[in-house]
């Protein structure tokens, strides 16, 4: 019995050591959590090519895994959608964290370093990128950008028959399936990998939970004898907001290394006792240890993000809002106040698209930036 423990502990220890030595994140996920630089951004920089296998090039540029590349190449619409998913989640992440110390800096090594750890921020990145992908996929489906979408898999003729006989499933179902396939279900024994997986799933679940069913009556004279319902996605902003809330209430999954066995223990703060009891038995499928919740999980406490570290460029010279977040953002270092004349559009007349007619008003404005 003891030997078993020892063996298991040793194994997990070596796995962790091994993984820590790996370059880049442990699992090549996608989007904000993938190991590719987000150079595909911005969206518009790419020339619109619709001939032949232009999307192959794009798929290659995204630095996908083998299986993901195959899925990407299968349909010219996928590449574009993947790109859109990245933009969408990146923008949303930055929007949600615009008042925080960590403002979702995505470029360079900072993101990669965060992904190597198990912070709350890591959890958010995983969740928002899977949510973004699901959302973008469902949207692409309904925009007709994908060649195969809801009536998937079946050969062409059967596909058509299925559509004529009973319609196809909704695009959300398809998007969910695609994302699950795309991100892959890996059974991993490493705690962090499992937490990442969990957070990815949370992203998808939040999308699923936010679905609203809308109905339309169209019976005789518009009565409700015949009614058709469909499921509708929430706007991505709402999803981002919910994930941000989940980020704030993220649950720590402690991984304390037991001296005797060297076994990685996992317990949530809430039910540590219970979890430890469960720990008594050697677990072949370690899956049960992750609580089945919709909460985001993290393993370690986040750094302060105040000073430049490998996780963030620090908050020096960050713009902040007085009386609101300057104290928090500047980490007590105080802020500089700069008074400037700003010319701003005001009293705008806006049309629904693309045209704004404004007067230019000059205002004196105070700009606050954090001290270094």
């Amino acid at each position: 019995m003891l030997d078993g423990h020892l063996l298991l502990g040793w194994l997990s220890f070596t796995v962790i050591v091994y993984l820590l030595n790996l370059p880049g994140p442990t699992i090549a996920y996608f989007g904000l959590t993938g190991n590719e630089p987000l150079s595909v951004l911005p969206l518009n920089s790419l020339p619109e090519e619709s001939i032949g296998r232009a999307h192959f090039k794009l798929c290659d540029r995204l630095k996908l895994e083998k299986k993901q590349r195959r899925m990407c190449r299968r349909d010219p619409g996928v590449a574009e959608t993947l790109r859109e998913a990245i933009t969408m989640s990146a923008l949303e992440c930055q929007y949600q964290f615009r008042f925080e110390r960590w403002n979702c800096t995505l470029e360079g090594r900072h993101r990669a370093n965060i992904l190597k750890r198990g912070f709350k921020e890591t959890a958010f990145l995983y969740a928002i990128s899977s949510a973004g992908l699901t959302h973008a996929m469902a949207k692409a489906c309904s925009a007709g950008r994908m060649e195969r979408c809801t009536c998937d898999e079946a050969p062409d003729l059967e596909n058509r028959k299925a559509w004529q006989w009973g319609g196809c499933g909704d695009n959300l179902k398809y998007a969910n399936k695609f994302v699950k396939d795309f991100l892959g279900k890996r059974s991993n024994k490493d705690l962090r990998a499992r937490v990442d997986m969990h957070n990815t799933n949370v992203g998808m679940k939040v999308i699923k939970a936010g679905v609203e069913t809308t109905c339309k009556c169209h019976g005789v004279s518009g009565s409700c004898t015949v009614q058709t319902c469909w499921r509708q996605l929430q706007p991505f902003h709402e999803i981002g907001k919910q994930l941000k809330q989940r980020y704030e209430t993220s649950v720590k999954v402690g991984s304390s290394t037991n001296e005797a066995t060297g076994e990685g223990e996992i317990s949530t703060g809430r039910n540590q006792q219970q979890q430890q009891q469960q720990q008594q038995q050697p677990l072949p499928g370690l899956n049960d240890q992750i609580p089945r919740t919709m909460d985001l999980l993290h393993i370690e406490d986040s750094p302060s993000f105040c000073r430049p570290t490998k996780y963030s460029p620090g908050t020096a010279a960050r713009k902040c809002y007085k009386d609101k977040n300057c104290d928090a953002i500047c980490c007590g270092r105080g802020h500089n106040t700069q008074s400037r004349e700003v010319t701003r559009p005001c009293q705008c007349q806006v049309r629904w698209c693309c045209y704004v007619e404004c007067k230019q008003c000059t205002q004196r404005e105070e700009v606050y930036t954090c001290k270094g």
């Binding site: 559509w163 196809c168 045209y355």
Partner: protein
Amino acid sequence: MAGAIIENMSTKKLVIVGVILLLFQAFAFMVGGLIAPSPTTAVHYLATKCVDKVKKPQQTKWFMPWGEKKCVNIQSFDEAMAKGIEANNIVFAVHIPLPNKEMSPWFQFMLVILQFDIAFKMYNQIADGALVHIDVGLAYRDDMNSEWTEMAHSLEQRKLSCNFTATKTHENEGRHYECDLLPFMEVGSVAHKYYLLNIRLPVNERKKINVGIGEIKDIRLVGIHQNGGFTKVWFAMKTFLTPSILIIMIWYWRRITLMSRPPVLLEKVILALGISMTFINIPVEWFSVGFNWTWMLLFGDIRQGIFYSMLLSFWIIFCGEHLMDQTERNRFSIYWKQVGPIVFGSFCLFIFDMCERGVQLKNPFYSIWASDIGTELAMAFIIVAGICACLYFLFLCFMVFQVFRNISGKRMSLPAMSKARQLHYEGLIFRFKFLMLVTLACAALTVIFFIISQVNEGHWHRGEHMVQVNSAFFTGIYGMWNLYVFAIMFLYAPSHKHYGDEQSSIQCITGDAGVNSCEDIQPTTTITHVDGPTEIYKMIGQEAQE
């Protein structure tokens, strides 16, 4: 006579008939639940924002959202802002259906719902009572390579009713309004394979057109059509039911005409019920597969309306004819008070339907709900129809109550009556109670299944099989009312057994000699003499005498 089949049938036979009908009923439910797919499908479409030429906007060209001749499009309006594209150059294009699919005449109808995604901006909020002016064109083609042919073009107005749940502050900028669904288009037949919608939202500041409608981010459409599989099952059912009702109807009428007396009102009404059922059953929809008949939807509504009003009238008259009071009936004009609301109510609904679906024959984008006057008018029609329905039900309930009161009165005096009269009244009461029970059961079943189909998500999983509750509801209820009409025509047809008796009794009366000997067999004549006409069948006797 008093001899409907139901009275003279032995209990055993009645049970057999009931079981057979129940089997058919179960079959009807199963056809819908197990064979048919769900009745309708909703498909999401996200409009692609195409860019018309900036300099000279073309009105006639059609813009494709995807495919080989894809239009020049933009992802978001921020991009448009940067490129200096104006609102009038943006065309929202939606291709129905999605890639690699095609529409089919089996889809029967297509209705499209419009939804705007409008983001909240402090400086660009939705004005109160904002109207969207939509310039929309619909085109079709039947193969991927041919040119688009215009089907309809219209300038429409829709009222934006959106509300913003969060507080209207800077922080909440970018969040979306919650907007009501807008009815957009309804086409009564899907004769073509591909449809294309091009939507423009032109801005004219001087005329205040499309000003103050907020920051539109996207246009989403939901296309609803009937599933081909469901249509096929439905047609098959109709095709099967038509001859069965038709045959029983002919059989029923032959029985009536075989009698020497002219048919009474109740018998005529039952026949009318049968005719209206056949009218609804006749599967003229088969033609819609071959021909482009857009009025089929309206025609279906009318047929249903006729059947419903016939059924409601039938209940009233049936109750009236079983009232067993001392008034003379057997004339349709007696029932004008009760039938009037039905006729008036269905007429109102007919007018409403003509205003909506009738106009849609000309302009598929028309909606009576889009304008204020239209909404009020439509509401007025519906409210009047509702009042009529309430009135009707009051009448019906009152009549049923009266019948029951009379029944209990007659029950009391039954033992005092002669054997023949006793039998006669018992028959009458039994007949009434039977119909009452069956009708209530049918109505209850309809309501229950309606609720189940609304509450459920549309299908149940039973292991590997999926039970389509909605389809089961439609086929089951449709089958049920068919069986109901069938059963009424069968059970309330004059019976052969008494038929012979009646002839002999009439002979008695005309012979005038054996009145006493006939009395035992045929009570009507005696009652007529004793206490005047008590109910219809005595009337017949009297008429025969004359």
